[in-house]
Amino acid sequence: MKTSGNAPARGRAGLLASLAAALAIGLSPVAAYAADPVKLNFWDMIWGPPEYIDAAKELVAEFNKENPGIQVEYRSIPWNNWYQTYVTAISAGTAPDLSTGAGYQAVQLYDLGAIRPIDDLIEEMKTSGDLDDFLPGTVDTLRYDDHYVALPWGIDIRVWFYRKDMLDAAGLKVPTTWAELREAAKATTKDGKFGILASGDTGGSHFLYNAILNNGGGLFTEDRKLDLKSERNVEAFEALAGMVADGSVSPASTGYNSDDRRGAFNRGQGAFTLDGPGLISQAGDAADKIGVVPPLAGPHGDKGTIFWVNNIMVYEQTKHPEEVKTFLKWWSKNQTPLWTKGNTGQLPTRKSIAANDYFKQQASRGYVLENYVPIGKTTATHAAGIFPALNEVEGEGVMQTFAQELWQGKPLDQILDTADSRLKSIVKE
C-alpha cells in the first residue's frame, strides 16, 4: 500500500486532464455546435467469445437509437496488459467516460483519484426499488471509503469440474468433501492421466484462494491485516500439498497457463480442474463429458469459493456525468443479450436476468448460480468490502509463484514463509 497520508492526489494527472480539456474547448471549432449529441466513450473488456463483442455492439447501437441525444462509442479492450491500458490513458487524460472492469480495478483507480463514485445513482435505484433486483452482497462489495465506486454487472467465480468418463471408468462417485476429492484424484491418477490439472498463472492462484475460502480461511483479518498463515489457511494449503504429494496433480501444472490447462482437461488428460462457469460451453465436443462438482465441504464442514463482482465504473474525467448515468442505468437493465446472444462466461448479478430461460438451458451455469454464488467470497475475506491493495497483491504475482512452487512439490512451510514475507513487503506492513 502506498502511504495513505498523502491526500488522494490528483496531481499531475488531474492537471493534465484539465489542461487537455481546456485545449480541446479552446481549439476545437466543433465544440460550438451545441445541438450535437453528447459523445460518450464506453470501454468494455472482452468478457466472452467473439459473439460477445457483437452482442455488446448491438446493444450499444440500440441505446443510441433510443437516445438520440447521446452517442455512445463502444470499444473492446483486450485483457492483455489491461491495467497498463487504463493507467496510461488516465494519466494522459484520455480515460473513457465509463468502462467495465474486473474485481478491484474500480477501488484501485478510485484511490488514484480517477473514479467518480456513483452514490447518487445507487440512491436513485434504492428509491425506485431497482436495487432489490441485485443479488445479495453484490452491490455492497463495491463499497469503499463510504462510497459506491462501481455498479455490479457480472459475477466471476471458480468451481470444480470433473470428467464424467474418468470417474465412471474408475467406478467413483462425484466427491462431496475435500477428503473425497483427494481420494478420487488419487484413484484417477493412472495410465498417464492425472487426478488434478492445475496451472501456474493467475488461474493457478485461484486454486489457493478456493482452498482457503472453502475452509473458512482468508487472506486478511477483519481489520485488513495480512493473515496468510492462519490455522485454517495452512490446513487448506496442506490439503493441496497432500494431493501433490500423492502424485495426483499433473506435473505439467506449474508450466501450464489456464488455456493449456483447459485444453488438457477437455482432452481428458485429467479428472478435475477449477475454472469459471463458462468452461463447459467452451469445451466443444467434450462438453457432455464434463460436470460441475457440488460445493465441497471442508474438514470442519465449511463451504465457500472465490468470486469477484465485476462491475461498471464511471471516470472522474467525464464531462457528461448525467448522460453517463442515463446510459449506465439503461445498460444495467437491458444487458440480458450479453448472455443470450453473447455467451459471456460471467454470471448475472441481477435476479431478473438470472431468471432468464438461458440459465435453465445452460444447466451448469444455472447450477453454479444457484449453489455456488451464495457461498462466494472475495479475496478480501475476512475484511469487509474490497480495497486497493488487493489489485497489487494479485498483480504482483506472489500467489502465482506460490502456486507454481506448490505444484512443484516444494516443502510447504518454506514457500509459505517466502510468500508471506513478499506479500508483507507489497502491502508495506
Binding site: L16, L19, A20, M45, I46, W47, G48, P49, P50, Y52, R75, S76, I77, P78, W79, N80, N81, Q84, T85, T88, A89, S91, A92, G93, T94, S258, D259, R262, G263, N266, R267, G276, G278, L279, Q282, G284, D285, G345
Partner: protein
C-alpha cells in the same frame, strides 16, 4: 568461395545437410502453418500429430469477421513510415560519422550506444504523456517516431560502415570541380549507396513490422492496431481462438518472407562491422 571446385557429391551432401537443418530449425513455424488449417476445436483435441481434415475456415473467418486487413494496413503504414524516416536520418548521420571528426561527432557517436541500451520501459509513461499532448495516441506517427529512434543506432552504424567503403577520392574530385561538400554527398555518394540503403531499409522494416511492446502501449484502438497487437485480440478472457490466431500468424509472415526472398542479395550489405566505434 573459399574452397574452390567441390565435387557434385560434396555439393549435394551439403544440400542434404542444409535441408535437414532448415526443416528442424523451422519446425515451430511449419507447425504453425499446418495448424492454421485446423479449427480451434480440432486444435484443442490435438488427437494426432499431423493435421487431418484440412480446412480454410480460419482464413475466411479472418477475412470476413475480423479486422485483419485493417491491422495489416496499419502495420504496412507504420513500417513503411518508420523505414523511410529511419533510413533518411541514418544516412545523414552515418555520413557525418564516416567523414567528419570533432568533439560533437564523437559525443554523438557515444550517445548512440546509450540509445541502443536504453530500456524502453522507462520511456513509456513520459512519452505517453508527451504524445497525448501532441495528439499522437492511436496514430501511426507515435510508433513511427519511436521505431525510428529505437532503430537509429543500428541503422546509423550500418550506414556508416557502408559509407566507409566508398572511397573519399570521389568526393575530393567533386570538391575540386567546385561542388559543395553537401553537394558532393547528394550527387556523388548517395547515388552509390543504393545497396546499403536497401539493407538498412530491410532491417528497419522487419524491426517495425514485428514490434509488439511499444505498439501495444500506443495503439490501443482496434482501428489503429498493428498486426502483432491485433493478434492478441484473439486471446480472450477464457479462451483463445487458436485457429484464427494461427491463420493470422501465418498471413503475418507472408509479406516479410516475400520481401526477403525478393531482395535477399542486398541483405549481405547488412554488415555493421566497421560502423560500431566508440
Amino acid at each position: 568461395m573459399a574452397y574452390p571446385n567441390p565435387t557434385p557429391a560434396q555439393r549435394w551432401t551439403r544440400f542434404g545437410i542444409l535441408s535437414v537443418i532448415v526443416l528442424v530449425v523451422n519446425l515451430p513455424i511449419i507447425l504453425m502453418v499446418m495448424n492454421s488449417f485446423q479449427t480451434t476445436d480440432q486444435l484443442m483435441q490435438r488427437s494426432s500429430l499431423l493435421p487431418h481434415d484440412l480446412t480454410t475456415a480460419n482464413y475466411s473467418y479472418l477475412s470476413e469477421r475480423t479486422n485483419f486487413w485493417r491491422y495489416l494496413w496499419n502495420s504496412v503504414v507504420a513500417s513503411t513510415g518508420s523505414t523511410i524516416t529511419s533510413a533518411a536520418a541514418a544516412a545523414l548521420a552515418g555520413y557525418a560519422l564516416s567523414r567528419f571528426r570533432g568533439r560533437f561527432v564523437t559525443t554523438y557517436s557515444r550517445t548512440l550506444f546509450i540509445v541502443q541500451m536504453f530500456p524502453i520501459i522507462l520511456a513509456l509513461i513520459p512519452l505517453f504523456i508527451l504524445f497525448r499532448t501532441l495528439g499522437l495516441i492511436n496514430s501511426p506517427l507515435s510508433v513511427i517516431i519511436l521505431y525510428t529512434v529505437v532503430h537509429l543506432p543500428f541503422a546509423t552504424w550500418m550506414a556508416r560502415s557502408f559509407f566507409d567503403t566508398i572511397p573519399r577520392e570521389l568526393e575530393e574530385a567533386a570538391l575540386v570541380d567546385g561542388c559543395s561538400r553537401f553537394g558532393a554527398f547528394l550527387r556523388i555518394v548517395l547515388p552509390l549507396s543504393g545497396p546499403g540503403l536497401a539493407a538498412i531499409a530491410i532491417f528497419s522494416f522487419l524491426f517495425s513490422y514485428n514490434e509488439f511492446f511499444v505498439a501495444n502501449v500506443f495503439l490501443r484502438d482496434e482501428n489503429a492496431m498493428t498486426l502483432p497487437v491485433g493478434i492478441t485480440m484473439f486471446m480472450q478472457q477464457y479462451s483463445t481462438d487458436w485457429g484464427s490466431l494461427m491463420a493470422a500468424a501465418t498471413l503475418t509472415v507472408v509479406p516479410t518472407f516475400i520481401l526477403f526472398l525478393g531482395i535477399q542479395k542486398y541483405i549481405t550489405y547488412g554488415a555493421v562491422s566497421g560502423g560500431v566505434k566508440g
